[in-house]
């Protein structure tokens, strides 16, 4: 079980995260939805401390990470337990697809090259990119790059996968292939947090949905709870705007 407790973050006077707490069970697919600029991405980035939170605690079973008071070793440990897939893919542009996936294995986990290569090929096969091993990121389409980025994240065997709007930078035609890949991974039982604006995807895949606004969790529940019977007015409004809940055009 992963516990996230009271994560806070302000940029100068702008309070972006105002004490976020929730739990994640093993195998959970947590989806975070909400309007732009409410701190969804910041929350994700605070969980692996790429953006340094102002306060809060992250617990992985017996590993406790105090965001304010931790050693450098703890920070590396936290990042080993998590893997992130970025909106802009962020593949290493000077390395081939295979090397991109192997990088974390050989450098961080110190796995011998031969073994790392086997793992990398296995993960690339999972995302259907094994035929592009020697390509460089610039030779690939956006969707292909994002699939490689997913393979890179999976290869690290993380306890928690973080997806930061994985399809927002893709054109509509390529969104499908990436969402399908994420769905396959979810079905394999990986624990993950997904920030996404793809409502139908969230509805199908998520086991838990969090609606966030202004740095706070407004509503939290299972996908059917949130989508079928939202309790909060703001949640309802958001879902109507996103055409998830269809409102009758008129009523008598």
């Amino acid at each position: 079980m992963i516990k996230i407790r009271d994560i806070k973050k302000s940029f100068f006077s702008n309070k972006v995260l105002d004490g976020i707490s929730f739990d994640i069970e093993a195998g959970d697919v947590v989806a975070i939805i909400g309007p732009s600029g409410t701190g969804k991405s910041t929350l994700l980035r605070c969980i692996n401390s790429i953006t340094k939170p102002d306060g809060g605690v992250i617990e992985f079973d017996d590993f406790k990470f105090d965001t304010k008071d931790h050693s450098k070793k703890d920070l590396i440990e936290l990042r080993k337990k998590t893997s992130m897939v970025f909106q802009q893919f962020n593949l290493f542009s000077k390395k081939t697809v295979l090397k991109n996936v192997m990088e974390g294995l050989t450098v961080v986990q110190k796995i011998p090259k031969k073994e790392a290569k086997e793992i990398a090929i296995k993960e690339l096969t999972k995302v259907h990119m094994d035929d592009r091993q020697q390509y460089y990121p610039k030779h690939l389409s956006g969707g292909q790059q994002q699939r490689v980025a997913i393979a890179r994240a999976l290869a690290m065997q993380p306890e928690l996968l973080l997806f930061d709007e994985p399809t927002s930078a893709l054109d509509p035609e390529l969104v499908g292939e990436v969402l399908d890949t994420i769905k396959e991974i979810a079905n394999e039982g990986y624990t993950m947090i997904v920030v996404s604006h793809e409502m139908s995807f969230v509805r199908n895949v998520a086991t838990k949905v969090i609606f966030m606004e202004n740095g706070k969790i407004v509503e939290m529940g299972t996908a059917s709870q949130i989508f079928d019977s939202p309790q909060n007015e703001r949640t309802k409004e958001f879902l109507i705007k996103n055409r998830v809940v269809i409102q009758p055009e008129y009523s008598i």
Partner: protein, 258 residues
């Protein structure tokens, strides 16, 4: 035959000037390497905004960019002996200017000058790197050092290389001013040869030819290095070799490669 301009003298001069190519190259390479290392360190100070040092480096770079090389050479040539006198006076040491070979002055001034310019080039290259890739490396659990050597430097190198090459070419030509520190390199020797028979023009033409050829060779070398560190335009091992060659040819025609 009228020989106001004697081409044979040019050829003869080229031959004797070639003996001085190693000195010119020696000054350029040594001060280039020192300058590059210095430039890297200065760039790190500027990027990390280390207090006090940052301001000092700012003034240093501004001075080096704002004064001609020849002036900097004069200042080192006349400044070091004065510095020695002060040190001797206060510390009671016995440093002798006569013990310093003249080439050291030239190396010193040119290295400082190159360092200032390189630091600006390196700083801009570091700042141009895609921050997302550095974040991705951090997210994988790489330490700061691993990120520096495995991700940042290889990328900055590619970005900085064309400008560093330019800087090196400028440096080679800058060595022609080393005569002000009484170093006899190619240009100084050309003056001497010219003075022998008052055939200055021929000597300088010979000198120009050598510089030009030297720099053409170095330009090609830089292009080759850049080609090696660059991500290839065409993927390396496509199964279809014929297609690969065709693609490469097409790119060459469009000026994509070299």
């Amino acid at each position: 035959m009228l020989n106001i301009f004697d081409i044979d003298v040019v050829f003869k001069d080229v031959k004797s000037l070639l003996l001085f190519v190693p000195i010119t190259l020696y000054i350029s390479v040594i001060s280039g390497i020192i300058g590059l290392v210095l430039g890297f360190l200065l760039a790190v100070v500027r990027i990390k905004k280390i207090p006090v040092l940052n301001q000092i480096v700012g003034v240093f770079i501004s001075f080096m960019r704002g004064t001609p090389i020849i002036v900097q050479l004069y200042i080192t040539y006349f400044g070091i002996p004065i510095a020695f006198m002060y040190i001797n006076y206060y510390k009671g040491t016995n440093l002798q200017v006569a013990n310093v070979p003249p080439i050291v002055y030239a190396l010193f001034a040119l290295a400082l000058n190159t360092g200032a310019f390189c630091s600006v080039i390196i700083q801009s290259a570091f700042e141009a790197i895609n921050q997302g890739e550095i974040e991705a490396a951090a997210a994988l659990g790489m330490t700061g050092r691993q990120r520096m050597f495995r991700i940042i430097i290889p990328e900055a190198l590619e970005l900085a290389l064309p400008n560093l090459g330019n800087q090196f070419i400028g440096l080679i030509k800058g060595t022609s001013l080393a005569f002000t520190c009484s170093v006899v390199e190619m240009t100084a020797q050309a003056k001497i040869i010219g003075a022998r028979g008052y055939r200055y023009f021929e000597a300088y033409v010979a000198l120009a030819i050598i510089y030009w050829i030297m720099i053409i060779v170095i330009e090609q070398l830089i292009k080759l290095i850049l080609h090696l560190v660059k991500v290839p335009d065409v993927v390396g091992d496509i199964e279809d070799k014929k297609l690969y060659k065709k693609q490469k040819k097409l790119l060459k025609k469009q000026g994509g490669l070299l």
